[in-house]
């Protein structure tokens, strides 16, 4: 057994932590993009498409993230697409994120009163103009705090990607534990690192929430 100092543990975890950050950012950005498209479809109101989006959200909110990753990871090879753990994790987390963000944002859009839709309609605006100038600018202010809050869930969700063999913070923790036999220290450090990523996000979300609570515009 090689000698690991605490610094060795921390250093190796930090290296792997970069992948946690990268996976989080990618999934959040792509998930946000897909979520926005789904939101538009949902709001535009074609009954069949609305039902489809609702089913999508229901499916991803009603099943474990781990199962979603497994299905992507084991399912795609069956249709001839060989995917690395990185691709499977990115894809799985993107779908997961998009479903939650769509639902969060839908709530924000619906909180914009009917009067705003009617007033803009009475001024001759079409759906795109109503969305762009009236609804989204207002909905976005409401949506920012819960969206930042959800980013914490995405970061924590990346830990599940360790199970399909993607080497990020948690997986590195397991590997280092196997080499050092110091699970208390190693998992303690792993938890601390997640905390250092997530806590500032949580604080920021709470700060925004307080800031926007009483401000209508």
């Amino acid at each position: 057994m090689s000698e690991f100092t605490l610094w060795d543990i921390v250093y190796n975890l930090l290296l792997a932590g970069r992948w946690t950050v990268l996976l989080s950012l990618t999934a959040f950005a792509l998930g946000g993009l897909v979520g926005l498209i789904l939101l538009m479809i949902r709001t535009a109101g074609n009954p069949w498409l609305v039902r489809l989006v609702r089913g999508y959200v229901e499916l991803f909110q009603g099943t474990p993230l781990l199962m979603q990753l497994f299905i992507v990871f084991f399912g795609l090879p069956l249709i001839g697409l060989d995917v690395s753990p990185w691709v499977a994790a990115t894809l799985g987390l993107t779908l997961f994120t998009s479903a939650f963000l769509t639902e969060i944002w839908r709530g924000c859009v619906e909180s914009i009163g009917r009067g705003q839709w009617e007033a803009s309609a009475s001024l001759g605006m079409n759906f795109t103009q109503q969305m762009r100038y009236i609804v989204l600018p207002q909905a976005m202010r409401i949506a920012i705090p819960p969206t930042v809050g959800f980013s914490v869930q995405v970061v924590k969700g990346t830990a599940v990607a360790s199970i399909i063999g993607f080497v990020e913070l948690t997986k590195a923790g397991t590997m280092i534990t196997n080499a050092t036999y110091a699970p208390f220290t190693v998992y303690g450090c792993v938890a601390l690192m997640y905390f250092l990523i997530c806590y500032p996000l949580s604080l920021f979300a709470r700060h925004l929430e307080g800031k926007f609570r009483h401000v209508a515009r």
């Binding site: 993230l65 781990l66 497994f70 069956l78 969700g157 208390f184 905390f195």
Partner: protein, 223 residues
């Protein structure tokens, strides 16, 4: 060469999945009941006028909320024995569930308490109730009623999150699935079916919580 799906390969192993469903349900029910109990106490502590207690609970809540469930699980199962606390797989999983639901419900219930109108509390004070009586008789029930939908969603989320308990070999539903695919190499089919089982479980859980909520909160209104 196309892959031939064989969902029938799961059938002989149905007992493993069935046992898994039972264990996942146990984890969720124990976690929810004990966790929400702790949540009520935690919310009480957070509203406490002793700032030290409130702060300690606050730090604990932030620590748990800002770390992944899987890492907490590893820490409890693999890490705690270093402190002489040796738990079985099931005990570790239950503990992790309770800790998580305790923390999330603390925050949710706290929000519900803050939403109880000040006039209610003042009315109770004017009737000479003490703090515990006010909490017990005037505050907690309307607060819980208000946040019941949010609390229900959180319980469903934690139930789904319990699928990673398979990683410490707690024999819940996902563990059953892993076990089957290791025998018959039908990973996709197994996980596909198990995903469906989870979906049904989450729908049933949400419905049960709704019924429970009606029972707890609506009935009293008409008494």
């Amino acid at each position: 060469m196309a892959y031939e799906f064989d969902f029938g390969a799961i059938v002989p192993h149905w007992k493993l999945l069935f046992d898994g469903v039972i264990l996942t349900t146990e984890l969720t029910v124990i976690g929810a009941v004990v966790g929400v109990g702790f949540g009520i106490m935690g919310a009480w502590a957070r509203a406490s006028r002793a700032p030290v207690i409130s702060q300690i609970v606050g730090i604990y809540v932030e620590l748990i909320r800002n770390t992944p469930f899987l890492v907490q699980l590893f820490f409890i199962f693999f890490g705690l024995p270093a402190l002489g606390v040796k738990l079985t797989e099931f005990q570790a999983a239950v503990l992790a569930m309770i800790v998580n639901l305790g923390v999330y419900s603390t925050e949710i219930i706290r929000a519900g308490i803050q939403a109880v109108p000040q006039g209610q509390i003042e009315a109770a004070q004017s009737l000479a109730m003490n703090r515990l009586q006010i909490f017990r008789y005037v505050v907690i029930l309307p607060a819980l009623k208000k946040i019941w939908p949010a609390l229900s969603s959180q319980i469903v989320i934690v139930m789904l999150g319990s699928s990673v308990c398979s990683q410490i070999a707690a024999e819940e539903l996902t563990f059953g699935a892993n076990y089957i695919q290791a025998i018959n190499f039908r990973a996709f089919e197994v996980y596909f079916i198990v995903t469906g089982i989870y979906l049904v479980m989450s729908i049933l859980l949400r419905m049960s919580l709704k019924v429970l909520g009606n029972y707890l909160f609506e009935r009293r209104r008409h008494v």
